[in-house]
Point group: C2
């Protein structure tokens, strides 16, 4: 069989990682700031990177904590806000690891449908009117994982108003923000928040690379302080060497160039993927993402993606079944991560997938 | 006032960190294994480093998990073994962050006195005979933090036998193993364990530098597997970039050279510190460490180190008071970390401390 083509993991292919730029950044980090790059540091993160992030989001450094990847940031936040039976709003579908993290803390999950312009705010409002009082709503606003859709400007405004009226935290989980390859950037919820309603998370995994495991939270200073104490008690401090390298990567201009590389490659990939899906799986329905890593495809009634997954593996293509991203339903859906597949492999990958779907019909 | 001299933090001074070697190792990591250095990786750690650690300790790779610093490893282990009211044996005195981690999990702590040849095994045995049934005994065998003493070979054997007889886990917390600058290395408890009684933790913070935040656990494969699942759910994977850099640092021979540098410097520092203490604080009693970072000094009856601490700060010298390392007592004791103070500053530091002690007497 040919090499396996994997649409399963939300990771970048090596060709869109600036390995040369990382070498230079690591050397620069150790040359320009050897003491703080090699020492324990403090739990809020490498101070110049913390300041850089604060400036990017127009907040103060004390609103920022830099962590070992953004999932570690999520874990700290959930530990602060979610305990047994805490009502939490999640998107439907949503990132499978978010569901797992909330379930492990025994949160009471309330899914709200994701539409082509983001979470259904009417549906959320109705739940609130019916008495739901969540501690938190988890929202992936841009190029949602797994649905690939983006929350509209109008819905952002309405969500913030609901958070205010019903007194809950919006967890704006936004790792794909900078990977918009078409259309206009919409203002973050964080940037419109005047009352400490939003806790914002992002990462350098999608703009630099995942192996440096650097993410961050932006939020109210008192909450950040509590999380910093928790971080101290968990690991003293996050990786100063990686964070100092990322800081140098950003300062040198390599980060901006890297983002352009990633956007150009992913736009090409998503265009190829859309064309191949239309050609080889004409019954499939999907929203073409304007950015990010993922395309969510509904293969239509009667298709059982649990079976498709196995047949696809036999054909040499890997995908993730939709049921992983919802509490119930999603049987006819798949998530296709195009971040790891170079454009010239995508058509062959979709042909294999189409043969797998066909095989499950008989 | 002159610059502050700090004996407070167990961190190496920059002059004993091989910054040049780290630059070369980071570049080598990105050149030789760019894909695995920049990707997410898996929660067990960067695979070649995991194998290197397994070979060092004579175990299989599935007995090893590499983490974001060894305190993160401790946290995972405590989450697995310690819940509310779990009886846990701790040394008296012991590392303050260990006490905090166990207290945060509401473990029931049973301190056992540390003597000049390590924990008092008779005292432990009596507690066991009296009915104590601990889930775990936390032991820092080499150059204990804060006491600076080393567990004798005979006590190691007896401890293992007690763990067997009374069915508890020994958590062998051994970050200073390779920093022995005199005397013969004693076999680890891990190396004498035939029945999965020992979970071993160590770190590259003391042999490479703390900023790369890389530690590890060695233990029974089923426990390591559970911790790997917990790690996946917490942060997907630890820092591959830092771990790949450490692997190249080790492979190139820089690690061995670095250990020699650290040992030579710390031996000089501890000799100077001992001489200065004898000269300027003749009433102080202490055990001269054969390795590691710390010297524990008892300033004698009637000295209140809480007061000394403040007076010392006024004199421009920082120390940690003994009471931080015990549940009760320790009022006349201090921990002096000599890892961060170059030899030519030590005498001045002790002179300041002696003035501070004198000031609290009046």
């Amino acid at each position: 069989m040919n090499d396996v083509i994997s649409f399963s993991r939300g990771a970048p292919s090596l060709d869109i990682i600036d390995v040369e730029g990382l070498k230079q950044a690591a050397v620069a980090a150790l040359e320009k700031d050897p003491a703080k790059t090699t020492t324990y540091g403090t739990s809020v993160g490498y101070v110049p990177l913390r300041e850089w992030i604060a400036a990017k989001h127009g907040v103060e450094p004390e609103n920022v904590i830099v962590t070992n990847g953004s999932m570690q940031a999520d874990a700290f936040l959930f530990d602060q806000l979610v305990s047994e039976d805490s009502p939490v709003v999640v998107e439907r579908p949503t990132y499978d690891r978010t569901l797992l993290g909330l379930r492990n803390r025994k949160g009471e999950l309330h899914p709200v449908t994701v539409e082509s312009d983001g979470v259904n705010v009417d549906e959320l409002e109705q739940k609130l009117k019916d008495g739901l009082r969540p501690v938190m709503a988890h929202i992936i606003p841009n190029f949602q994982n797994p649905a690939g859709v983006t929350l509209s400007a109008e819905k952002r405004t309405r969500l913030l108003a609901l958070a205010e009226e019903y007194d809950f935290t919006i967890f704006e989980d936004d790792p794909y923000l900078d990977i918009r390859f078409r259309g206009e950037q919409l203002p973050t919820l964080l940037s419109q928040d005047t009352n400490g309603r939003v806790v914002y998370a992002s990462s350098f995994s999608k703009t630099v690379c995942p192996g440096l495991r650097t993410g961050y939270l932006v939020g109210p200073a008192d909450l950040v302080k509590k999380i910093a104490t928790q971080a101290t008690n968990t690991y003293i401090a996050p990786n100063q060497f990686a964070q100092s390298t990322i800081y140098q990567f950003a300062e040198s201009g390599a980060l901006e160039r890297s983002i352009e590389t990633v956007k150009a490659a992913l736009e090409e990939r998503v265009d190829q993927l859309s064309a191949s899906l239309r050609a080889h799986l004409p019954n499939a329905s999907f929203v073409v993402p304007d950015g990010g890593y993922f395309l969510w495809v509904d293969l239509g009634e009667g298709v059982d993606c649990a079976k498709v997954l196995k047949a696809a593996a036999d054909e040499g293509v890997q995908v993730v079944k939709g049921t992983d991203f919802v509490l119930e339903g999603g049987e006819s859906c798949l998530r296709l991560a195009y971040s790891a597949v170079q454009a010239d492999k995508i058509d062959e990958g979709v042909r294999r997938l189409a043969r797998a779907v066909e095989a499950t019909r008989v």
